[in-house]
Symmetry: C2
Subunit: 157 residues, 2 copies
Amino acid sequence: MGKSTLDAADLRILEALQRNGRLSNVDLAEQVGLSPSPCLRRVRDLEEAGYIQGYAAILDRRRLGLGVVAFVEVKIDQNAEGDAVFRRAVERIPEVVSCFVMTGTMDYLLQVVVPDLDAYAEVSMKRLLQIPGVKDVRSSFVLDVVKHSTALPLPPA
Amino acid sequence: MGKSTLDAADLRILEALQRNGRLSNVDLAEQVGLSPSPCLRRVRDLEEAGYIQGYAAILDRRRLGLGVVAFVEVKIDQNAEGDAVFRRAVERIPEVVSCFVMTGTMDYLLQVVVPDLDAYAEVSMKRLLQIPGVKDVRSSFVLDVVKHSTALPLPPA
DNA sequence: AGTGAAAGGAGCGATAC
DNA sequence: GTATCGCTCCTTTCACT
């Protein structure tokens, strides 16, 4: 199932699709210097090999009235059960955009997107703190976004 | 330029396109309960009004050999010039996936994606610390990803 | 606002190199 | 592995409700 090495054309395809996921196959083929058929086959292969997980519309957070982004450190009672419960709960909160286990003292680092501070209070108090095992929630808020990219750094060639 | 309110159909369109940005217009129209023509017109309007910033292929970080994600707190000499220089520099480092100004003590919070710790050392020492005005760089590393979504939370209806 | 039809173009399979 | 052909379906515009 799936190739294990990427040649230069594959990398060009991935780079182009990171920039514009709705490129038509003919346009993509032209950008990467292939004719449409082999280009499409490569894209399908990259999808099936799992290099491409999917495609998404990138929405404008502020335009949608989502003015508040918070990074939240969550401490929970450390046991396997509590972890599983917490993870499942977080999975189902759409305001939690991402959730990582980190090195250092904190247990989880969450990124939360909400319309305003009231909505943040709601998520923090009524959702996160309600999850059994959650001991501490510490929030920092984003004052300004310098950069926010969905594109991963790919090897040069 | 552009509508200022979103009706239920608009929200269904945005939600569907967040999940699958390559949906064909006919499939999208079916999912949101419209016929293709008005559906396409709405999508175009949403794009031009800035609700949809663009479309991107979502790549699999690990499959691409990018095993290390770090959150990096960067302290810089606080003056307008230094800030502008720092922002411009960060903009041009593809390994820096995002960069925020945060409340609290740290000046910037960066998210960095690299293949391994050697590459991280390279970015940290030879790129970030080289930027004039950068005083301190503190890194935490992601041990596990519980959730990582590009989808923003949209109002229910 | 939504519907329906019509033309141009793209996707995608088959085939050949 | 790559390109060309050809059929089908989608996209997109226009006239109409």
